[in-house]
Symmetry: C2
Subunit: 136 residues, 2 copies
DNA sequence: CTCGACCCTGGACCTAGGTCTAGGGTTTAT
DNA sequence: ATAAACCCTAGACCTAGGTCCAGGGTCGAG
């Protein structure tokens, strides 16, 4: 038993071709096939695909998403290694979160200036993602 | 006076062709030209371009970035409108930040399970971006 | 005055991530 | 038993976001 590609696509909110594409790219595993060569997916494929779509919206490439998902699969392998990789990803996430937060406060500031009809000051939006470690 | 395209590219860390491309896409304004038809950019173009690159890493498309940057330019126009747009972007950012935070705690959890050699539990990574409002 | 390092335009080319089409088999409802 | 609605593969096609020529002008050092 399993889900046909159409059902998975419907529940995950993607095109069936996207699922075949993800399979070619190894983002999702190769599903079993029934006697007619139809793909039969385990139910949790739906969650996995949704995870992929959300992670993409957050700026991750399919390759990065694959790495995130592989972390748990490899778990059996070298645990300390997985741990290190996970913590490295955490650092990257912290950086992204900080950037989004400063972008957010820039927008809040802009909105306030606007409602104040106050003085403009130097553009808060451009300030938002300034430097934080890049060269110069 | 102003910066040639090569200088801007160098300081912003991008290709000169990228700057011409951004100009065609209206991500940066059309610069002045000198007597030889060379582009001459104001110094703050560098910040603007860096902002663009950072925002892209955070998952924004060039079109979205243009909108963010236009918020301040339009400021003179209808202030209340700009304010509303800014606050709408703030909501979107909050959602992104929340997603990244749950992804982060999934990874931290995974790292801990790993160092504990503890029981595996259901995959924390897939849990990370579950539902939060999507259909089903 | 000429060589190398710039700059210009127009258009071809590239990668990522899909999406669509053609040609053909399967399953289901009537 | 046949039409609608699925499924399959291979391969063409598409958008976003660049990147790379070709062919030609410009500027500074020696």
């Amino acid at each position: 038993m399993g889900l046909t590609i159409g059902k998975v696509a419907e529940h995950a909110g993607v095109n069936v071709d996207t699922l075949r594409y993800y399979e070619r790219q190894d983002v999702i595993g190769k599903p079993l096939r029934n006697g007619s060569n139809y793909r039969l997916y385990p139910a949790d494929t739906i969650r996995r695909v949704r995870f992929v779509k959300r992670a993409q919206e957050l700026g991750f490439s399919l390759t990065e998403i694959k790495e995130l998902l592989e972390l748990r699969v490899n778990k059996n392998a070298s645990c300390a290694n997985v741990r290190d990789q996970a913590l490295a990803k955490v650092d990257a996430l912290n950086e992204k979160i900080r950037s989004l937060q400063s972008m957010r406060s820039a927008l809040v500031k802009l909105a306030n200036e606007c409602s104040n009809h106050g003085p403009v000051g130097d553009c808060p939006i451009l300030d938002a993602l300034d430097e934080r470690g890049s060269a110069i």
